[in-house]
Symmetry: C3
Subunit: 340 residues, 3 copies
């Protein structure tokens, strides 16, 4: 973790759906409270919105953001259309970026561009965002979805755009990705551990956020009863947290709650971090470089991991104090805010 | 899967063996029928043939192809000698490529070149194939075996030859590869998941086929009885199919049958694909971009995966109608051929 | 395995600690005998030594090496300070390298440089070693610890320095690495299989050694009793051996013993290798290129793996004859020394 910018949750909301209120999902995402409020809300103008509803969806975003965005504590990142192999989609994407920046640019943190290809294609997307930002004076950033074989092939080169461009985040898109490669759910689905490692690494090497892919088996059925698939989603998010991703994709308020919680250190993790930071600091003051605490060697390197834990808690505390107050007892939280 | 060119099975057959009929394995591979007929037959002039039988093996290929190839429904790809660190082997390989193209070029689809090194070495192999093809007028292609640390290191650059060269396929060679890296079967063998992911990705990014490595524990023994090791091979092939490889290597007619079957979608997979394509198409007609079917979110991205399933079935149906007729009931097959 | 240079164990010893004898760990590493003697001893001037003890630690190395190094059968590689993002640390590292080469250069095999960044930073470390070697006339080499996102990103380019530079080994540093990426022990720790594969591959492609990362849970507690965590460390080392690493990091004499033993082929492995080399050699003499032995196809490729096994045993036999005499019965060892 090379930044404390929060994106524990990247929640997409179809921006125009076939309902009485076509902005139903967008509205509920923007109005979500407590643990169900995502760190990033992503109004979806791409695959989640039918072709003949794109205009209505864009209108919904323009209509609702002025009303809801000022009260929304997280960031807002619409997903536009794009496609490395589809010039018409890129043209629509450029139009959507320009329109969004012009009409609701002050409420946007960035735009999410899907189905990018090799580095040159990402540069084209970045140029569209840069042009819209320059024209409107709004500081809009770029997140790209890594979901094509070409983007994975160029991942290292794409990420290196990070240090001096509007690129701020890499997001994984496993469904398109599996379809491009021909991956099949034989027994179980492919899990792409190599891609996850590379995405986490390249994001860290270039000060980008790294965000996981959606988990679409929202519900399970057993013995006639259908219920929210909370175990499998939690395992999915835990796997992403383990490898160092900053956050996970959510398709549902329940997923948002689980991802917000899992990407926050547990009480035990925080307690261990605080205790070992204190013990190691004391040992260092005594002239000891490495010390064995509860059977684990702690040195400068181990120490950094414990510092990360504390820094994440502090960032969440700044943004959503009610969450840290609920998760940690007052004494532990106090020590986390003051240690080191 | 970016192509519907079939290579569910890549069966090597030693082309000259110490038997009364030194072409025994080559002949049985060319004459195989039904599920035991490989999509690609690879007459082996390299490691499967002893040094003092190379000439006899080449003669066998030249003798048998005119007789068997016209009836053989799959492709024919002899494996020649090569070695990035062995100029004598490369010289023999160039001679074998030239001789094969000249004598039986009309029966060949390509040649398989093993033990390639960095990209420059693959370019040398490609130049040999290009020269032979130009000289004889036969459209011979190239498959390389990725089985050295240098080839793995340059995999991305090697694959990029794909779009404008005779390179058509990447094949994995785990035995040489493990020996180069010093990998050991401690408890179990190394499985190289990172290499598998990279090979599948780079093949898809450059319109190449990706083919798995051989599984050499053909037989197991238990309580005195030796029998075909069908479970372990099936698991090996399933792992390769999961990550998006187009086909698997076979060393035996039983392996060919299993690999042909596993790289064909199951009846349940096809049924789900057909049903969800129909439901999603209907939802799209109603103006819905994403729809939840049996608890799974289906959108344009998910849709592509289902299309892949149907396209593979159609390709096999074109090449081996008896296999699709056996695997799917008539109604399902009919819908697969007409849906979407 | 592209070299028979031994580094089954890379044991770090803090060079200056808060004890009556501040060289306690350094001394015991240099004086270790039998299975507890590491192939490489790494006197640690970096994270294992507190800031205000660095000078004392350096003095300990200068004092003890002339006394112990002549009798030490392995190699000696001090770890100096460095940091791709810390110019002061690099300055200290350059001084430490120069001082070590000048004062005890005849006892050193190389220096270990931690926290390197992209290739340019490794080139800077290599220039410091090259300058010290040139100035003193001692043939000092370089090992770098891969423990930052930048070094992992540039791993292929860094390793390519190997063929014409002083770079001799790549070592993994999982603790700093996990902290950089933000990896968390959610349920279990991240294991970075993709990095392991890449490190083994790039080392083999460039004639470098590849050495695993430390395992810091030295002790476990159960029902009130604390004991050496021998099972988990053994599994850690087995995983590293499986993927082709030449050796593992040790923090304790017990770890050194386990790693020395695991990176030596088992008696069964050696017996199989010797038997199959003999059977395959015989088959080749009979004009057979591939032969099925106990249900496994053996050809030139398989053969190489068996040769590796025998060569490792021979290298250990040369360096530590008591270890091979203990592990293999006399007849098997004799055959291993003479076969092939």
């Amino acid at each position: 973790m090379t930044t404390t910018r929060l994106c524990r949750t990247f929640q997409t909301a179809p921006a125009g759906v076939a309902r009485d209120d076509s902005a139903k999902y967008l509205r509920s995402g923007l109005a979500a409270e407590g643990w169900q409020a995502p760190d990033w809300l992503v109004p979806d103008l791409e695959d989640g919105t039918a072709p003949d509803r794109k205009e209505e969806a864009l209108r919904n975003v323009r209509d609702l953001l002025p009303e809801y965005a000022p009260e929304f504590a997280g960031e807002i990142w619409p997903r536009v259309e794009w496609g490395y192999d589809d010039e018409a989609a890129r043209e629509r994407g450029r139009d959507q970026i320009a329109t969004l920046a012009e009409s609701v640019g002050e409420h946007l943190d960035g735009v999410v561009v899907p189905k990018v290809g090799r580095r040159a294609d990402v540069e084209a997307a970045e140029a569209a965002v840069e042009a819209a930002a320059r024209e409107t004076g709004h500081d809009v950033e770029l997140a790209v979805i890594v979901e094509t074989a070409r983007a994975r092939s160029d991942l290292r080169e794409i990420a290196r755009l990070g240090t001096d461009s509007r690129l701020a985040a890499l997001v994984f898109g496993p469904v398109d990705y599996a379809a491009e490669l021909g991956g099949r759910a034989v027994g179980r689905r492919p899990t792409w551990p190599g891609l996850y490692e590379a995405m986490s690494n390249e994001a860290s090497a270039n000060d980008l956020l790294a965000i996981g892919g959606p988990f679409d088996r929202l519900f399970r059925e057993r013995a006639g009863v259908t219920f929210y698939n909370g175990d499998e989603y939690a395992e999915h998010v835990e796997r992403e947290a383990r490898v160092g991703l900053d956050g996970s994709w959510s398709l549902h308020p329940n997923q948002t709650e689980q991802s917000n919680r899992i990407h926050l250190p547990t009480s035990d993790e925080l307690r261990e971090a605080v205790r070992k930071i204190a013990a190691f600091t004391e040992a260092k003051d005594d002239g000891t470089g490495a010390v064995s605490i509860d059977g684990q060697m702690v040195d400068e390197a181990t120490f950094k991991g414990f510092e990360n834990t504390v820094e994440t808690v502090r960032a969440v505390h700044d943004a959503r104090e009610s969450q840290t107050r609920e998760c940690y007892d007052a004494d532990l939280l106090e020590r986390a805010l003051s240690v080191g």
